[in-house]
Symmetry: C2
Subunit: 323 residues, 2 copies
Protein backbone atom coordinates (compact mmCIF):
# COMPACT_ATOMS: atom_id res chain seq x y z
CA UNK A 1 0.00 0.00 0.00
CA UNK A 2 2.19 2.78 -1.32
CA UNK A 3 1.07 6.33 -0.46
CA UNK A 4 -2.41 5.00 0.23
CA UNK A 5 -4.47 6.36 3.09
CA UNK A 6 -3.52 4.90 6.46
CA UNK A 7 -6.78 4.70 8.31
CA UNK A 8 -7.45 4.49 12.02
CA UNK A 9 -8.02 0.76 11.57
CA UNK A 10 -4.72 0.25 9.82
CA UNK A 11 -2.97 2.31 12.50
CA UNK A 12 -4.31 -0.03 15.14
CA UNK A 13 -3.45 -3.11 13.17
CA UNK A 14 0.02 -1.93 12.27
CA UNK A 15 1.26 -0.61 15.57
CA UNK A 16 -0.88 -2.09 18.28
CA UNK A 17 -1.45 -5.71 17.40
CA UNK A 18 1.04 -8.49 17.90
CA UNK A 19 0.97 -11.66 15.80
CA UNK A 20 1.95 -13.54 18.96
CA UNK A 21 -1.58 -13.01 20.28
CA UNK A 22 -2.77 -15.55 17.72
CA UNK A 23 -0.64 -18.21 19.39
CA UNK A 24 -2.26 -17.95 22.81
CA UNK A 25 -5.14 -20.33 23.35
CA UNK A 26 -6.76 -17.99 25.89
CA UNK A 27 -7.17 -15.32 23.20
CA UNK A 28 -10.18 -16.55 21.22
CA UNK A 29 -10.59 -13.30 19.24
CA UNK A 30 -7.81 -10.69 19.25
CA UNK A 31 -7.83 -7.33 17.51
CA UNK A 32 -10.09 -6.79 14.50
CA UNK A 33 -13.60 -7.56 15.71
CA UNK A 34 -16.03 -5.54 17.82
CA UNK A 35 -14.53 -6.99 21.00
CA UNK A 36 -11.66 -9.19 21.98
CA UNK A 37 -12.90 -12.55 23.29
CA UNK A 38 -10.91 -14.26 26.02
CA UNK A 39 -11.05 -17.53 27.90
CA UNK A 40 -10.53 -16.99 31.62
CA UNK A 41 -8.68 -19.65 33.60
CA UNK A 42 -11.01 -21.90 35.60
CA UNK A 43 -10.98 -21.23 39.33
CA UNK A 44 -9.38 -17.84 38.89
CA UNK A 45 -10.57 -14.32 39.55
CA UNK A 46 -9.93 -11.35 37.30
CA UNK A 47 -7.98 -8.30 38.45
CA UNK A 48 -8.59 -5.16 36.38
CA UNK A 49 -7.05 -1.72 36.58
CA UNK A 50 -6.96 1.36 34.36
CA UNK A 51 -4.24 4.01 34.20
CA UNK A 52 -4.07 7.09 32.02
CA UNK A 53 -0.75 8.73 31.18
CA UNK A 54 -1.02 12.31 29.93
CA UNK A 55 1.84 14.19 28.31
CA UNK A 56 3.57 16.72 30.61
CA UNK A 57 1.61 15.43 33.60
CA UNK A 58 2.70 11.81 33.82
CA UNK A 59 5.68 11.93 31.49
CA UNK A 60 7.73 14.72 29.87
CA UNK A 61 6.86 15.51 26.25
CA UNK A 62 10.50 15.11 25.29
CA UNK A 63 10.87 11.60 26.70
CA UNK A 64 11.92 9.03 24.11
CA UNK A 65 8.80 7.44 22.57
CA UNK A 66 9.92 3.95 23.62
CA UNK A 67 10.07 5.21 27.21
CA UNK A 68 6.55 6.64 26.92
CA UNK A 69 5.27 3.30 25.62
CA UNK A 70 7.04 1.32 28.33
CA UNK A 71 5.98 3.64 31.10
CA UNK A 72 2.30 3.77 30.14
CA UNK A 73 2.08 -0.01 30.43
CA UNK A 74 4.40 -0.29 33.45
CA UNK A 75 2.30 1.97 35.68
CA UNK A 76 -0.81 -0.06 34.86
CA UNK A 77 0.90 -3.42 35.37
CA UNK A 78 2.15 -2.21 38.73
CA UNK A 79 -1.45 -2.34 40.00
CA UNK A 80 -1.67 -6.00 39.00
CA UNK A 81 1.62 -6.60 40.84
CA UNK A 82 0.21 -4.96 43.96
CA UNK A 83 -2.74 -7.35 43.83
CA UNK A 84 -0.54 -10.41 43.30
CA UNK A 85 -2.13 -11.04 39.92
CA UNK A 86 -0.53 -12.61 36.88
CA UNK A 87 -0.68 -10.22 33.91
CA UNK A 88 -2.78 -11.55 31.02
CA UNK A 89 -4.32 -8.99 28.65
CA UNK A 90 -4.35 -5.25 28.07
CA UNK A 91 -6.17 -2.65 25.98
CA UNK A 92 -4.81 0.71 24.89
CA UNK A 93 -6.80 3.87 24.27
CA UNK A 94 -4.32 6.04 22.41
CA UNK A 95 -4.95 9.73 21.76
CA UNK A 96 -2.49 11.31 19.33
CA UNK A 97 -2.09 14.93 18.22
CA UNK A 98 -0.89 13.73 14.80
CA UNK A 99 0.56 10.62 13.26
CA UNK A 100 4.32 10.32 13.08
CA UNK A 101 5.10 6.76 11.92
CA UNK A 102 8.64 6.89 13.27
CA UNK A 103 7.46 8.05 16.70
CA UNK A 104 4.65 5.47 16.71
CA UNK A 105 6.94 2.62 15.82
CA UNK A 106 9.32 3.43 18.69
CA UNK A 107 6.42 4.00 21.09
CA UNK A 108 4.86 0.66 20.13
CA UNK A 109 8.20 -1.09 20.51
CA UNK A 110 8.59 0.18 24.08
CA UNK A 111 5.08 -0.97 24.88
CA UNK A 112 5.37 -4.33 23.14
CA UNK A 113 8.70 -5.21 24.74
CA UNK A 114 7.27 -4.93 28.25
CA UNK A 115 3.97 -6.54 27.20
CA UNK A 116 5.79 -9.57 25.79
CA UNK A 117 8.07 -9.89 28.79
CA UNK A 118 5.08 -9.66 31.17
CA UNK A 119 2.84 -12.09 29.28
CA UNK A 120 0.34 -9.25 28.91
CA UNK A 121 -0.99 -9.40 25.34
CA UNK A 122 -2.54 -6.30 23.80
CA UNK A 123 -6.03 -7.44 22.81
CA UNK A 124 -7.83 -4.19 22.04
CA UNK A 125 -7.18 -0.64 21.05
CA UNK A 126 -8.73 2.61 20.07
CA UNK A 127 -7.03 5.59 18.40
CA UNK A 128 -8.35 9.14 18.59
CA UNK A 129 -6.99 12.60 17.91
CA UNK A 130 -6.06 14.98 20.71
CA UNK A 131 -3.31 15.73 23.22
CA UNK A 132 -1.01 12.75 23.65
CA UNK A 133 -2.71 10.48 26.18
CA UNK A 134 -2.29 6.77 26.73
CA UNK A 135 -5.03 4.96 28.59
CA UNK A 136 -4.17 1.39 29.47
CA UNK A 137 -6.54 -1.15 30.98
CA UNK A 138 -4.78 -4.24 32.28
CA UNK A 139 -6.31 -7.60 33.13
CA UNK A 140 -4.69 -10.16 35.35
CA UNK A 141 -5.73 -13.42 36.96
CA UNK A 142 -5.23 -14.92 40.37
CA UNK A 143 -6.49 -18.06 42.10
CA UNK A 144 -9.87 -17.21 43.65
CA UNK A 145 -9.53 -15.61 47.06
CA UNK A 146 -5.79 -14.90 46.97
CA UNK A 147 -5.79 -11.18 46.03
CA UNK A 148 -3.41 -9.01 48.07
CA UNK A 149 -5.77 -6.38 49.47
CA UNK A 150 -5.00 -3.04 51.05
CA UNK A 151 -7.25 -3.87 53.96
CA UNK A 152 -5.40 -6.88 55.39
CA UNK A 153 -2.71 -5.23 57.57
CA UNK A 154 -2.92 -6.36 61.21
CA UNK A 155 -1.37 -5.03 64.39
CA UNK A 156 2.07 -6.54 64.87
CA UNK A 157 2.70 -7.13 61.15
CA UNK A 158 5.99 -5.99 59.72
CA UNK A 159 5.94 -3.28 57.06
CA UNK A 160 8.39 -3.97 54.23
CA UNK A 161 9.25 -2.49 50.87
CA UNK A 162 10.87 -3.99 47.77
CA UNK A 163 13.90 -2.43 46.10
CA UNK A 164 14.99 1.16 46.57
CA UNK A 165 12.16 3.69 46.36
CA UNK A 166 13.18 7.33 45.93
CA UNK A 167 15.33 6.87 42.85
CA UNK A 168 12.58 7.88 40.44
CA UNK A 169 12.09 11.24 42.17
CA UNK A 170 15.79 11.96 41.83
CA UNK A 171 15.65 10.69 38.23
CA UNK A 172 12.88 13.14 37.40
CA UNK A 173 14.86 15.99 39.00
CA UNK A 174 17.86 15.07 36.89
CA UNK A 175 15.77 14.80 33.72
CA UNK A 176 14.38 18.26 34.42
CA UNK A 177 17.95 19.57 34.84
CA UNK A 178 18.69 18.28 31.35
CA UNK A 179 20.60 15.09 32.18
CA UNK A 180 20.20 12.51 29.42
CA UNK A 181 22.85 9.88 30.21
CA UNK A 182 21.59 6.63 28.67
CA UNK A 183 21.35 3.80 31.16
CA UNK A 184 21.97 5.93 34.27
CA UNK A 185 20.31 3.87 37.03
CA UNK A 186 18.53 6.85 38.60
CA UNK A 187 17.25 8.23 35.29
CA UNK A 188 16.20 4.69 34.31
CA UNK A 189 14.29 4.27 37.57
CA UNK A 190 12.16 7.24 36.55
CA UNK A 191 11.92 6.57 32.83
CA UNK A 192 11.56 2.79 32.82
CA UNK A 193 10.04 1.63 36.09
CA UNK A 194 9.83 -2.13 36.33
CA UNK A 195 6.45 -3.38 37.58
CA UNK A 196 7.04 -5.91 40.36
CA UNK A 197 4.79 -8.59 38.87
CA UNK A 198 6.91 -11.58 39.82
CA UNK A 199 7.33 -10.23 43.35
CA UNK A 200 3.58 -9.69 43.71
CA UNK A 201 2.87 -13.25 42.64
CA UNK A 202 5.61 -14.59 44.91
CA UNK A 203 4.14 -12.78 47.93
CA UNK A 204 0.62 -14.13 47.39
CA UNK A 205 -0.41 -16.16 50.41
CA UNK A 206 2.30 -14.53 52.51
CA UNK A 207 1.71 -10.75 52.56
CA UNK A 208 -1.28 -9.58 54.61
CA UNK A 209 -1.62 -6.42 52.47
CA UNK A 210 0.09 -4.83 49.50
CA UNK A 211 0.10 -1.59 47.51
CA UNK A 212 2.43 -0.23 44.85
CA UNK A 213 4.37 2.93 45.65
CA UNK A 214 3.18 5.31 42.96
CA UNK A 215 2.34 8.42 44.98
CA UNK A 216 5.13 8.08 47.58
CA UNK A 217 5.83 5.58 50.34
CA UNK A 218 4.11 7.58 53.09
CA UNK A 219 1.13 8.52 50.92
CA UNK A 220 0.60 4.93 49.80
CA UNK A 221 1.17 3.60 53.32
CA UNK A 222 -1.65 5.91 54.41
CA UNK A 223 -4.00 4.17 51.96
CA UNK A 224 -3.15 0.81 53.53
CA UNK A 225 -3.53 2.10 57.08
CA UNK A 226 -6.88 3.70 56.28
CA UNK A 227 -8.20 0.59 54.50
CA UNK A 228 -6.99 -1.67 57.32
CA UNK A 229 -7.96 0.62 60.21
CA UNK A 230 -4.48 0.52 61.74
CA UNK A 231 -1.40 2.71 62.28
CA UNK A 232 2.32 2.34 61.67
CA UNK A 233 5.57 2.89 63.53
CA UNK A 234 8.37 3.30 61.02
CA UNK A 235 12.07 2.95 61.79
CA UNK A 236 13.74 5.72 59.86
CA UNK A 237 17.13 4.05 60.29
CA UNK A 238 15.90 1.01 58.39
CA UNK A 239 14.89 2.74 55.16
CA UNK A 240 16.66 1.21 52.15
CA UNK A 241 18.89 3.93 50.70
CA UNK A 242 19.94 3.54 47.09
CA UNK A 243 23.71 3.82 46.63
CA UNK A 244 23.49 6.36 43.75
CA UNK A 245 21.43 8.64 45.97
CA UNK A 246 23.73 8.30 48.99
CA UNK A 247 26.69 9.12 46.77
CA UNK A 248 25.44 12.58 45.80
CA UNK A 249 22.84 13.73 48.33
CA UNK A 250 22.58 14.55 52.03
CA UNK A 251 21.00 11.82 54.17
CA UNK A 252 18.05 14.06 54.86
CA UNK A 253 17.38 14.56 51.15
CA UNK A 254 17.64 10.85 50.45
CA UNK A 255 15.13 10.07 53.21
CA UNK A 256 12.79 12.69 51.79
CA UNK A 257 12.96 10.98 48.40
CA UNK A 258 12.45 7.51 49.87
CA UNK A 259 9.46 8.62 51.94
CA UNK A 260 7.77 11.06 49.57
CA UNK A 261 9.10 10.34 46.09
CA UNK A 262 6.59 8.77 43.74
CA UNK A 263 6.87 6.89 40.46
CA UNK A 264 9.09 4.05 41.69
CA UNK A 265 6.43 1.36 41.59
CA UNK A 266 8.04 -0.74 44.28
CA UNK A 267 5.71 -2.86 46.43
CA UNK A 268 4.90 -1.89 50.00
CA UNK A 269 3.64 -4.92 51.91
CA UNK A 270 2.74 -6.01 55.40
CA UNK A 271 3.34 -9.51 56.65
CA UNK A 272 3.76 -11.51 59.83
CA UNK A 273 7.29 -11.17 61.22
CA UNK A 274 7.62 -14.95 61.10
CA UNK A 275 7.08 -14.86 57.31
CA UNK A 276 9.79 -12.31 56.50
CA UNK A 277 12.56 -14.83 55.86
CA UNK A 278 10.34 -16.89 53.54
CA UNK A 279 9.27 -13.74 51.67
CA UNK A 280 12.90 -12.67 51.23
CA UNK A 281 13.80 -16.18 50.06
CA UNK A 282 11.07 -16.02 47.41
CA UNK A 283 12.30 -12.66 46.11
CA UNK A 284 15.99 -13.65 46.08
CA UNK A 285 15.82 -15.19 42.58
CA UNK A 286 14.44 -11.84 41.39
CA UNK A 287 17.47 -10.05 42.91
CA UNK A 288 14.98 -7.89 44.74
CA UNK A 289 15.61 -6.98 48.38
CA UNK A 290 12.64 -6.82 50.74
CA UNK A 291 13.47 -4.44 53.58
CA UNK A 292 11.45 -4.28 56.81
CA UNK A 293 10.94 -0.61 57.69
CA UNK A 294 8.48 -0.72 60.58
CA UNK A 295 5.52 -2.32 62.29
CA UNK A 296 1.76 -2.06 62.15
CA UNK A 297 0.38 -0.61 65.40
CA UNK A 298 -3.00 0.34 66.81
CA UNK A 299 -4.56 3.70 65.91
CA UNK A 300 -4.48 5.42 62.54
CA UNK A 301 -1.25 7.40 62.88
CA UNK A 302 2.25 7.13 61.49
CA UNK A 303 4.92 7.28 64.20
CA UNK A 304 8.71 7.27 64.17
CA UNK A 305 9.04 9.78 61.33
CA UNK A 306 9.98 13.43 61.89
CA UNK A 307 7.07 15.70 61.17
CA UNK A 308 8.80 17.45 58.27
CA UNK A 309 8.55 14.29 56.17
CA UNK A 310 4.92 13.72 57.06
CA UNK A 311 3.84 17.20 56.04
CA UNK A 312 4.45 16.37 52.43
CA UNK A 313 1.66 14.43 50.83
CA UNK A 314 1.44 12.27 47.76
CA UNK A 315 0.84 13.40 44.23
CA UNK A 316 -2.68 14.63 43.59
CA UNK A 317 -3.97 15.89 40.27
CA UNK A 318 -6.57 18.17 41.80
CA UNK A 319 -4.99 19.49 44.99
CA UNK A 320 -6.65 22.89 44.92
CA UNK A 321 -10.26 21.83 44.85
CA UNK A 322 -12.50 22.60 47.76
CA UNK A 323 -15.79 20.84 48.18
Amino acid sequence: MNRAALSEFELIARYLSRPAAAERSDIVVGNGDDCAVLMPSPGHQLAISVDTSVVDIHFPHDAPPAVIGHRALAVALSDLAAMGAKARWCCMALTLPAVDPEWLEAFAEGFRELAARSGCELIGGDVTRGALTIGVTVHGELPAGTALRRCGAREGDLIAVTGYPGRAMEGLARWQRGEREAGHPVLEAYLRPEPRLAAGEALRGLASSAIDVSDGLLADLRHVLKASGVGARLDIESLPLATPLRATLELDEVREQVLNGGDDYELLVTLAASDLAEAQRRLAPLHLPLTPIGRIIEGETIQGIPLRYLERSGWDHFPEIAS
Copy 2:
Protein backbone atom coordinates in the same frame (compact mmCIF):
# COMPACT_ATOMS: atom_id res chain seq x y z
CA MET B 1 -15.83 17.48 54.80
CA ASN B 2 -16.54 21.17 54.53
CA ARG B 3 -14.17 23.22 52.33
CA ALA B 4 -11.61 20.46 52.61
CA ALA B 5 -9.50 19.44 49.65
CA LEU B 6 -11.30 17.12 47.28
CA SER B 7 -8.57 14.80 46.07
CA GLU B 8 -8.45 12.62 43.00
CA PHE B 9 -9.36 9.67 45.18
CA GLU B 10 -12.37 11.38 46.62
CA LEU B 11 -13.46 12.46 43.14
CA ILE B 12 -13.44 8.84 42.05
CA ALA B 13 -15.23 7.68 45.14
CA ARG B 14 -17.84 10.40 45.01
CA TYR B 15 -18.80 10.40 41.36
CA LEU B 16 -17.70 7.13 39.89
CA SER B 17 -18.51 4.44 42.40
CA ARG B 18 -21.92 2.97 43.01
CA PRO B 19 -22.87 1.36 46.32
CA ALA B 20 -24.83 -1.21 44.31
CA ALA B 21 -21.53 -2.78 43.26
CA ALA B 22 -21.18 -4.10 46.80
CA GLU B 23 -24.35 -6.14 46.33
CA ARG B 24 -23.11 -8.13 43.36
CA SER B 25 -21.45 -11.41 44.26
CA ASP B 26 -19.33 -11.34 41.09
CA ILE B 27 -17.62 -8.14 42.29
CA VAL B 28 -15.14 -9.39 44.90
CA VAL B 29 -13.31 -6.05 45.18
CA GLY B 30 -14.80 -2.90 43.70
CA ASN B 31 -13.33 0.59 43.71
CA GLY B 32 -10.72 1.52 46.32
CA ASP B 33 -7.95 -1.03 45.95
CA ASP B 34 -5.15 -1.35 43.40
CA CYS B 35 -7.40 -3.37 41.12
CA ALA B 36 -10.99 -4.46 40.98
CA VAL B 37 -11.30 -8.22 41.50
CA LEU B 38 -14.07 -10.05 39.69
CA MET B 39 -15.40 -13.57 39.55
CA PRO B 40 -16.04 -14.67 35.96
CA SER B 41 -18.99 -16.97 35.26
CA PRO B 42 -17.94 -20.61 34.79
CA GLY B 43 -18.07 -21.78 31.16
CA HIS B 44 -18.16 -18.25 29.82
CA GLN B 45 -15.76 -16.23 27.75
CA LEU B 46 -14.96 -12.57 28.30
CA ALA B 47 -15.66 -9.91 25.68
CA ILE B 48 -13.67 -6.70 26.12
CA SER B 49 -13.73 -3.43 24.21
CA VAL B 50 -12.39 0.07 24.73
CA ASP B 51 -13.82 3.32 23.37
CA THR B 52 -12.56 6.82 23.86
CA SER B 53 -14.86 9.84 23.52
CA VAL B 54 -13.09 13.16 22.97
CA VAL B 55 -14.79 16.53 23.25
CA ASP B 56 -15.60 18.15 19.89
CA ILE B 57 -14.63 14.98 18.05
CA HIS B 58 -17.07 12.42 19.42
CA PHE B 59 -19.51 14.76 21.12
CA PRO B 60 -20.16 18.52 21.07
CA HIS B 61 -18.68 20.48 23.98
CA ASP B 62 -22.08 22.05 24.63
CA ALA B 63 -23.91 18.73 24.97
CA PRO B 64 -25.64 18.30 28.33
CA PRO B 65 -23.24 16.52 30.73
CA ALA B 66 -25.74 13.70 31.31
CA VAL B 67 -25.73 13.10 27.55
CA ILE B 68 -21.94 12.99 27.49
CA GLY B 69 -21.93 10.44 30.31
CA HIS B 70 -24.61 8.30 28.66
CA ARG B 71 -23.00 8.44 25.25
CA ALA B 72 -19.49 7.56 26.41
CA LEU B 73 -20.80 4.33 27.92
CA ALA B 74 -23.34 3.62 25.16
CA VAL B 75 -20.76 3.58 22.36
CA ALA B 76 -18.62 1.13 24.33
CA LEU B 77 -21.56 -1.12 25.26
CA SER B 78 -22.56 -1.22 21.61
CA ASP B 79 -19.46 -3.32 20.90
CA LEU B 80 -20.59 -5.86 23.50
CA ALA B 81 -24.01 -5.90 21.83
CA ALA B 82 -22.39 -6.57 18.46
CA MET B 83 -20.62 -9.58 19.97
CA GLY B 84 -23.79 -10.90 21.61
CA ALA B 85 -22.24 -10.47 25.06
CA LYS B 86 -24.00 -9.70 28.32
CA ALA B 87 -22.63 -6.47 29.83
CA ARG B 88 -20.92 -7.01 33.21
CA TRP B 89 -18.28 -4.50 34.28
CA CYS B 90 -16.75 -1.26 33.06
CA CYS B 91 -13.84 1.06 33.90
CA MET B 92 -13.66 4.76 33.16
CA ALA B 93 -10.53 6.78 32.46
CA LEU B 94 -11.77 10.34 32.84
CA THR B 95 -9.69 13.33 31.77
CA LEU B 96 -11.07 16.68 32.93
CA PRO B 97 -9.90 20.23 32.20
CA ALA B 98 -11.13 21.32 35.64
CA VAL B 99 -13.51 20.11 38.30
CA ASP B 100 -17.04 21.44 38.23
CA PRO B 101 -19.03 19.45 40.81
CA GLU B 102 -22.37 20.30 39.19
CA TRP B 103 -21.18 19.20 35.76
CA LEU B 104 -19.62 16.03 37.23
CA GLU B 105 -22.75 15.07 39.11
CA ALA B 106 -24.89 15.33 35.96
CA PHE B 107 -22.26 13.54 33.88
CA ALA B 108 -22.05 10.71 36.42
CA GLU B 109 -25.83 10.46 36.55
CA GLY B 110 -26.05 9.97 32.77
CA PHE B 111 -23.37 7.31 32.97
CA ARG B 112 -24.78 5.55 36.02
CA GLU B 113 -28.33 5.42 34.68
CA LEU B 114 -27.27 3.46 31.59
CA ALA B 115 -24.77 1.38 33.60
CA ALA B 116 -27.48 0.32 36.06
CA ARG B 117 -29.99 -0.44 33.31
CA SER B 118 -27.40 -2.50 31.42
CA GLY B 119 -26.12 -4.45 34.42
CA CYS B 120 -22.68 -3.00 33.70
CA GLU B 121 -21.16 -1.99 37.05
CA LEU B 122 -18.38 0.58 37.13
CA ILE B 123 -15.53 -1.24 38.88
CA GLY B 124 -12.54 1.00 38.25
CA GLY B 125 -11.65 4.53 37.42
CA ASP B 126 -8.86 6.97 36.93
CA VAL B 127 -9.06 10.77 36.85
CA THR B 128 -6.48 12.99 35.18
CA ARG B 129 -6.30 16.58 34.04
CA GLY B 130 -6.50 17.57 30.38
CA ALA B 131 -8.97 18.07 27.53
CA LEU B 132 -12.30 16.40 28.32
CA THR B 133 -11.88 12.77 27.31
CA ILE B 134 -13.76 9.72 28.50
CA GLY B 135 -12.17 6.35 27.97
CA VAL B 136 -14.45 3.43 28.76
CA THR B 137 -13.42 -0.20 28.84
CA VAL B 138 -16.38 -2.57 28.94
CA HIS B 139 -16.37 -6.23 29.89
CA GLY B 140 -19.08 -8.67 28.94
CA GLU B 141 -19.57 -12.41 29.14
CA LEU B 142 -20.96 -14.99 26.76
CA PRO B 143 -21.21 -18.78 26.83
CA ALA B 144 -17.93 -20.15 25.41
CA GLY B 145 -17.97 -20.32 21.62
CA THR B 146 -21.10 -18.23 20.99
CA ALA B 147 -19.55 -14.84 20.10
CA LEU B 148 -21.08 -13.13 17.07
CA ARG B 149 -18.04 -12.59 14.87
CA ARG B 150 -17.59 -10.36 11.84
CA CYS B 151 -16.15 -13.26 9.88
CA GLY B 152 -19.16 -15.58 9.83
CA ALA B 153 -21.19 -14.21 6.88
CA ARG B 154 -21.80 -16.88 4.21
CA GLU B 155 -23.01 -16.68 0.61
CA GLY B 156 -26.81 -16.74 0.54
CA ASP B 157 -27.25 -15.26 4.05
CA LEU B 158 -29.66 -12.40 4.46
CA ILE B 159 -28.28 -9.03 5.56
CA ALA B 160 -30.53 -7.33 8.12
CA VAL B 161 -30.39 -4.27 10.30
CA THR B 162 -32.14 -3.39 13.57
CA GLY B 163 -34.15 -0.21 14.01
CA TYR B 164 -33.78 2.88 11.83
CA PRO B 165 -30.19 3.87 11.14
CA GLY B 166 -29.64 7.37 9.75
CA ARG B 167 -31.47 9.26 12.46
CA ALA B 168 -28.32 10.11 14.40
CA MET B 169 -26.73 11.81 11.37
CA GLU B 170 -29.80 13.97 10.97
CA GLY B 171 -29.83 14.57 14.73
CA LEU B 172 -26.25 15.81 14.62
CA ALA B 173 -27.09 18.12 11.69
CA ARG B 174 -30.01 19.54 13.67
CA TRP B 175 -27.88 19.97 16.80
CA GLN B 176 -25.32 21.85 14.74
CA ARG B 177 -28.11 24.09 13.41
CA GLY B 178 -28.95 24.97 16.99
CA GLU B 179 -32.02 22.80 17.54
CA ARG B 180 -32.39 21.86 21.21
CA GLU B 181 -35.91 20.45 21.46
CA ALA B 182 -35.88 18.08 24.45
CA GLY B 183 -37.03 14.58 23.58
CA HIS B 184 -37.07 15.08 19.80
CA PRO B 185 -36.62 11.52 18.48
CA VAL B 186 -33.99 12.46 15.91
CA LEU B 187 -31.95 14.59 18.31
CA GLU B 188 -32.28 11.81 20.91
CA ALA B 189 -31.01 9.22 18.42
CA TYR B 190 -27.79 11.22 18.16
CA LEU B 191 -27.48 12.31 21.78
CA ARG B 192 -28.62 9.16 23.57
CA PRO B 193 -28.01 6.15 21.37
CA GLU B 194 -29.32 2.95 22.92
CA PRO B 195 -26.85 0.07 22.73
CA ARG B 196 -28.65 -3.00 21.38
CA LEU B 197 -27.49 -5.32 24.15
CA ALA B 198 -30.70 -7.31 24.49
CA ALA B 199 -30.90 -7.70 20.70
CA GLY B 200 -27.31 -8.91 20.49
CA GLU B 201 -27.94 -11.52 23.17
CA ALA B 202 -31.19 -12.57 21.51
CA LEU B 203 -29.46 -13.09 18.16
CA ARG B 204 -26.72 -15.30 19.60
CA GLY B 205 -26.86 -18.71 17.98
CA LEU B 206 -28.91 -17.32 15.10
CA ALA B 207 -26.90 -14.57 13.38
CA SER B 208 -23.92 -15.75 11.35
CA SER B 209 -22.16 -12.38 11.81
CA ALA B 210 -22.79 -9.07 13.53
CA ILE B 211 -21.34 -5.58 13.78
CA ASP B 212 -22.66 -2.37 15.26
CA VAL B 213 -23.28 0.54 12.91
CA SER B 214 -20.99 3.21 14.30
CA ASP B 215 -19.21 4.44 11.17
CA GLY B 216 -22.13 4.05 8.77
CA LEU B 217 -24.04 1.06 7.41
CA LEU B 218 -21.96 0.72 4.24
CA ALA B 219 -18.65 1.31 6.02
CA ASP B 220 -19.46 -1.25 8.70
CA LEU B 221 -20.85 -3.70 6.17
CA ARG B 222 -17.47 -3.48 4.41
CA HIS B 223 -15.76 -4.64 7.63
CA VAL B 224 -18.02 -7.71 7.71
CA LEU B 225 -17.51 -8.47 4.02
CA LYS B 226 -13.75 -8.16 4.33
CA ALA B 227 -13.59 -10.32 7.46
CA SER B 228 -15.86 -12.94 5.89
CA GLY B 229 -14.36 -12.84 2.38
CA VAL B 230 -17.74 -12.26 0.73
CA GLY B 231 -19.75 -9.56 -1.06
CA ALA B 232 -23.25 -8.12 -0.72
CA ARG B 233 -26.17 -7.28 -2.95
CA LEU B 234 -28.32 -4.69 -1.21
CA ASP B 235 -31.92 -3.88 -2.12
CA ILE B 236 -32.17 -0.11 -1.86
CA GLU B 237 -35.97 -0.30 -1.82
CA SER B 238 -35.85 -2.34 1.38
CA LEU B 239 -33.93 0.13 3.54
CA PRO B 240 -35.84 0.99 6.72
CA LEU B 241 -36.68 4.70 6.51
CA ALA B 242 -37.42 6.47 9.79
CA THR B 243 -40.71 8.39 9.68
CA PRO B 244 -39.23 11.65 11.07
CA LEU B 245 -36.66 11.62 8.26
CA ARG B 246 -39.20 10.85 5.52
CA ALA B 247 -41.37 13.70 6.78
CA THR B 248 -38.77 16.40 6.19
CA LEU B 249 -36.19 15.14 3.69
CA GLU B 250 -36.01 13.98 0.08
CA LEU B 251 -35.85 10.19 -0.39
CA ASP B 252 -32.31 10.51 -1.73
CA GLU B 253 -31.16 12.36 1.38
CA VAL B 254 -32.78 9.83 3.68
CA ARG B 255 -31.07 6.96 1.88
CA GLU B 256 -27.76 8.78 2.14
CA GLN B 257 -28.26 9.05 5.89
CA VAL B 258 -29.29 5.40 6.26
CA LEU B 259 -26.32 4.16 4.25
CA ASN B 260 -23.59 6.55 5.37
CA GLY B 261 -24.76 8.10 8.62
CA GLY B 262 -22.85 6.94 11.67
CA ASP B 263 -23.50 7.06 15.41
CA ASP B 264 -26.79 5.11 15.42
CA TYR B 265 -25.37 1.98 17.01
CA GLU B 266 -27.93 -0.31 15.44
CA LEU B 267 -26.84 -3.90 14.75
CA LEU B 268 -26.08 -5.08 11.24
CA VAL B 269 -26.30 -8.87 11.10
CA THR B 270 -26.27 -11.69 8.61
CA LEU B 271 -28.33 -14.83 9.05
CA ALA B 272 -29.81 -17.73 7.12
CA ALA B 273 -33.05 -16.71 5.37
CA SER B 274 -34.81 -19.54 7.21
CA ASP B 275 -33.89 -17.93 10.54
CA LEU B 276 -35.29 -14.47 9.81
CA ALA B 277 -38.75 -15.08 11.26
CA GLU B 278 -37.30 -16.52 14.47
CA ALA B 279 -34.90 -13.58 14.77
CA GLN B 280 -37.75 -11.10 14.32
CA ARG B 281 -39.82 -13.01 16.86
CA ARG B 282 -37.00 -12.73 19.41
CA LEU B 283 -36.69 -8.97 18.88
CA ALA B 284 -40.44 -8.31 18.99
CA PRO B 285 -40.54 -7.96 22.82
CA LEU B 286 -37.86 -5.30 22.44
CA HIS B 287 -40.08 -3.40 19.97
CA LEU B 288 -37.13 -3.49 17.62
CA PRO B 289 -37.71 -4.20 13.93
CA LEU B 290 -35.17 -6.33 12.07
CA THR B 291 -35.28 -5.42 8.39
CA PRO B 292 -33.70 -7.57 5.68
CA ILE B 293 -31.88 -5.26 3.26
CA GLY B 294 -29.95 -7.63 1.00
CA ARG B 295 -28.05 -10.87 0.55
CA ILE B 296 -24.49 -12.05 0.93
CA ILE B 297 -22.97 -12.94 -2.45
CA GLU B 298 -19.65 -14.16 -3.78
CA GLY B 299 -16.83 -11.68 -4.39
CA GLU B 300 -15.89 -8.73 -2.21
CA THR B 301 -18.09 -6.04 -3.75
CA ILE B 302 -21.28 -4.25 -2.77
CA GLN B 303 -23.93 -4.34 -5.50
CA GLY B 304 -27.40 -2.84 -5.86
CA ILE B 305 -26.43 0.59 -4.54
CA PRO B 306 -25.92 3.62 -6.81
CA LEU B 307 -22.27 4.61 -6.91
CA ARG B 308 -22.90 8.02 -5.34
CA TYR B 309 -23.71 6.37 -2.02
CA LEU B 310 -20.69 4.10 -2.17
CA GLU B 311 -18.24 6.91 -2.77
CA ARG B 312 -18.75 8.15 0.75
CA SER B 313 -16.80 6.26 3.31
CA GLY B 314 -17.11 5.85 7.03
CA TRP B 315 -15.76 8.16 9.66
CA ASP B 316 -12.01 8.04 10.03
CA HIS B 317 -10.02 10.10 12.51
CA PHE B 318 -6.88 10.16 10.40
CA PRO B 319 -8.13 10.33 6.80
CA GLU B 320 -5.26 12.42 5.47
CA ILE B 321 -2.37 10.18 6.37
CA ALA B 322 -0.31 8.55 3.67
CA SER B 323 1.94 5.64 4.43
